[in-house]
Amino acid sequence: MPSLVAAAFEAPYLDYAALAPEIVLTGVLLAVLVVDLFVDEDRKAVVAQLAGVGLLASLLPVVFLAVDGDDRSMFSGAYVVDDFALVFKALFLVSGYVVLLMSTDHIEEGDYWKGEYSFLLLSSLLGMVVMSSARDLLTIFVALELLSIPAYMLAGWRKRDLRSNEAALKYYLLGVLSSAVMLYGMSLVFGATGTTVLEDIARELGGDASEPLVALGIFFIVVGFAFKVSAVPFHFWAPDTYEGAPLPVTAFLSVASKAAGFVALLELIFMGFFGQDNVWQPLFWVLAVLTMTVGNLVALRQTNIVRLLAYSSVAQAGYMLVPFAVGGSSDEAAGTAQTAVIVYLLIYAAMNLGAFAIVMTVARRTRSGEISSYGGLFTYAPGLTVLMTIFVFSLAGIPPFGGWFAKFYIFKSAVDAGTGWALALAVVAGVNSVIALFYYAGVAREMWMQPVPGDDRTPIRVPPALGAALGITAVAVMAIGVYPQAFARLGDLAQLAVR
């Protein structure tokens, strides 16, 4: 019989300062849920405002922690607050705020449940914030579920639209399938190493040749996250989901959700599995080549701006996979690769959110997502046209704007690695950048040079919240383009220590 006298319980070490962003965010989302119950239907805007203020409030501890500068670790290294975590927490909170701004009018005018929308958006953000600090398999998995499950529901938020239902169902089924595959991989890795903490996994695995068990585990985990970041051939859900979901949710999925997938990949690959580069490096090489090429080639043929942005976001994920495929040869290469991914994620968030904000603004009047409906936009909405041109050229990677710098870092990581495979990958990425220019420039050409369809030239009214979202993203894209060193420094600071 086991002894009935329990050994003294030792409370785990909790650093409440380090957990402050999560605690504030959880408090805010519960407050949103409760306040929503007591607010009349015509005053629901209060709930969204509360959510926005709450998001900014949870950004404050992130700033304080960054100023403080100490690395804090809890639960035997399972939960770490370091520069990497703080940079991504800030990214998620800010992009969540921009999405909330974009949602305000869309949700207000549509026939949606408004309070619960903010609640689910915040809870998905909470999952991402947890993900930035997670350093063990279990926490990563729970964070992933926490950020995905609200997103499945948000994708189907237009309940009476068949296409939105389809979007949610496809996203849900493939998401659950990928979670299952990933969890199986995690269980194999746990079985081989006997631990879930990434640091200990790295120590157990070392740089030895892989056991089949470990190789299979890593393979399944990477495949699971490939679904999440919509890498080809696991991208099939992305275009339909992006098209069917409400537009702010699409923006959220294509930026924040994708970034969270990459954050998890960075943690897993560079902290946990770094020694096993013979397993993941070829896998990422194939994924990167396929994702870039298929994404760009299919994007060329799109006539709908949302589908175009969907495939463009698939292609952009391909660029971000490049550093993974070249980062395994040395510690130095790993550092460069991490900086490249981090910088790209930060810049991609700004430019893609901006592009979606423009699409939403224009769609408020034209009621169309066809690229042809952008004809002659310059003649009646010059400000929006200039901004959209900046965003698409930035996505294409043309110099004065932020995107070129992100691409530059991707190429730098590949060229620095210097192996034949890395250089081949750089060439593929280069060819793809040229292909991408065609469809991005096609949008610009439509806006600047084509006649106005239907000759309807009434100016477009920009609601204040959308205007604010546009302002934040435009300033970010321009600032990065003009003064990229600041972001490079962020990327360097935020590197994870490679074991």
Partner: protein
């Protein structure tokens, strides 16, 4: 359990007591009867109840292995929560009567299922007989060392090392409840769908008459798009097959 794969039946018999064998034999009968009942019963509710029988048999086997916590979880989570969920769904969907299960949704499904089942079974036997590499060298399962029962140790781990994941999971459950309610709830007022709810992809304006001459590449029909070389037809931009009539 890992080494057991390579231990032969005689070795097992050597260490097992008569009580062990009797318990095992009784459980095997219960588990197998339940499993066969799930497959052959025509009433879905009966199938679900047979599943409970199987799960209880498994729970007793866990007790015999001294995995008391696992046995409790097996009864509470599987036999309790999950089967009740099954029954809810069965009754909500109104299929709680005899179904003709002989109709095959896919042709050749049955023989294929038999074939794959046989292959899987053969694989298990082969792996058990031959190599051990599939399970790796490190064994992390088995009775945990140190004082205290398994339950106590699990509780200790959950509330110390995995405290954060545990708390986050509780938030996740709240979210799931809210989401399920929102998705299942009907609108109180049949408010007319305001135009802003219409998604941008639905070309309601007569803009589709505008020639798509500015499309970057020459018009080539995408697999998911209507042929755009007939610009005078007003077409929905989405997938014609997936969203019939593009209705909302």
């Amino acid at each position: 359990m890992t080494p057991a794969l390579s231990i032969t039946a005689t070795a097992i018999l050597a260490v097992a007591t008569k009580v062990d064998i009797a318990v095992f034999a009784a459980c095997v009968v219960i588990v197998l009867c339940g499993a066969i009942g799930v497959v052959v019963s025509r009433n879905p509710v009966h199938a679900a109840l047979f599943l409970v029988l199987t799960l209880f048999g498994m729970a007793v086997l866990f007790v015999a292995q001294e995995a008391h916590f696992l046995a409790a979880v097996q009864v509470i989570v599987y036999a309790g929560a999950i089967v009740v969920l099954f029954l809810f769904v069965i009754m909500l969907l109104g299929v709680d009567r005899e179904e003709n299960v002989m109709a095959e949704p896919l042709r050749g499904q049955r023989p294929l299922a038999f074939l794959l089942g046989a292959i899987a079974l053969a694989e298990i036997f082969l792996l058990a007989q031959g190599t051990q590499w599939a399970t790796g060298a490190t064994q992390v399962a088995g009775p945990a060392g140190g004082p205290g029962s398994n339950v106590e140790k699990l509780a200790r781990v959950i509330f110390t090392r995995y405290l954060l994941a545990f708390e986050v999971t509780s938030v996740l459950l709240v979210i799931a409840v809210v989401g399920a309610v929102v998705l299942a709830r009907r609108y109180e007022t049949t408010a007319t769908e305001s135009p802003a709810a219409a998604q941008v992809e639905e070309p309601q304006s007569p803009r589709s008459e505008a020639p798509l001459s500015a499309a970057p590449p020459p018009a080539a029909p995408d697999e998911s798009h209507p042929d755009e070389s007939h610009p005078d037809e007003s077409q929905p931009a989405g997938e014609p097959d997936a969203a019939p009539s593009g209705a909302r």
